[in-house]
Symmetry: C2
Subunit: 240 residues, 2 copies
Amino acid sequence: MPLVDALIAKLETTARLSDKDRTLLAGLPVVMKTLKAGEDFVDQGSVLDQSAFVIEGVLTKYQVFPDGGRQTVSFHFKGEMPDLHSVLVRRMDHTISAIRDTTIGVVRHEDLRAIMSQSSSLAATLWRETLIDAAIFRQWIANNGKRGALHGTAHLLCELVTRAKAVGLLSPDGSWFLPLTQQHLADAGGISIVHINRTLRSLRQSGLAAIDQGRLRIFDWEKLVALAGFDPLYLHLRST
Amino acid sequence: MPLVDALIAKLETTARLSDKDRTLLAGLPVVMKTLKAGEDFVDQGSVLDQSAFVIEGVLTKYQVFPDGGRQTVSFHFKGEMPDLHSVLVRRMDHTISAIRDTTIGVVRHEDLRAIMSQSSSLAATLWRETLIDAAIFRQWIANNGKRGALHGTAHLLCELVTRAKAVGLLSPDGSWFLPLTQQHLADAGGISIVHINRTLRSLRQSGLAAIDQGRLRIFDWEKLVALAGFDPLYLHLRST
DNA sequence: CGAAACGTTGAGCTAGTTCAATCCTGGTGG
DNA sequence: CCACCAGGATTGAACTAGCTCAACGTTTCG
């Protein structure tokens, strides 16, 4: 299976691609690269001339503060491009690293620009991806702000499961080998690892969802959605 | 002064516009509209066929939760387009309203698409604007997450002053008639109005900044920046 | 002047933190 | 096969940040 298929499949969860656009994407020169768990591959402050998409694994984007604190601002799964924005905004305000061993496909900005200039609908599709990322950021502002730990964590889980499902990462029984530790969830929510642990316990004890041995199981999707106030509209998935 | 000048001036704070792009923008059909303080002009869930930019006044973007809670996700000043993304992502996941009496310029998506198809550099400039908005969202995730009330509020003030200065909203003495009440700041930070009040008091008592009678005065920019951990890089202003 | 909106403060409560200890679980060397 | 180790998960206890309720002060404006 060609490397770009992960990217194409992801784009098709939110947009309709023309045959021409699919062909242009398929012709994109891609260099495959493997990252070790915990490896940074884009540094805060650096300038890029290439972007990457996830082929297999998980990436995270985070900021580091002067005092050493860390705020995670996104997670990226199969097919997603965490640094697509670097095509137009070259200096990075965050670090991107691999959460576990991850395979990415690297494409040069030059080549991306070339296919976008050949198809304005493809350019629009890529722009639209970054706008959906922005909508996700808006939800995360609420997760870390008004929602508070319990509702915010529930919302995050709803979102991650919905996104993972869209690109076919869930097991047939609906569970998911969630590739995140409690530390990762804590860094995303801006809360302590102790508190994320207690928040997850609360979700488990109310029979909504549980993570055990790395596997996320949703027991009561309706109730979890209600608790989170989750409306998948902002993800703009074609299937919902 | 033509209505679009506010938009053009704002775009030029972050991008270089060609004569052609400036001409295209200047030819954009704009309908001026005035909004009363507190008036919603885009509703959560609605579908738009037009976008707006601020001519004079302030807009805010916020989400409303099932329980009636509210999370503000952005403020918009002169020249900014809070719903530019609606060109590609039509259904709104948030409400936009005027904070005080505000004049906006409304442009049809159709006309925006037309000028973008005539100039790919103009299209890129507009796309880039939405990417900078996304970078601001990332900072707000941190403001409401890891930074906490004091550091997060300091960071927000640094950002707002920097943005206001870029479009010439500061008085000659460096102060600014901040068009936000403590309630607005609280909704942005996801904290209570009582707590924002105490946070501002703390900033005032440490001699960093004070808001009195609607006027924001920065006493010690260096210290405020240090407290906030503010690095204006993410705003991508040409002047810094 | 009076009303409405905004700002300020105290007091008691709740959510979330830090520190520290303990417990799994999976992997590795002998 | 087992002992050991490292990273992650879990818990208790004491502490801090932030919330709610309620009262009161101040500014603005008709």
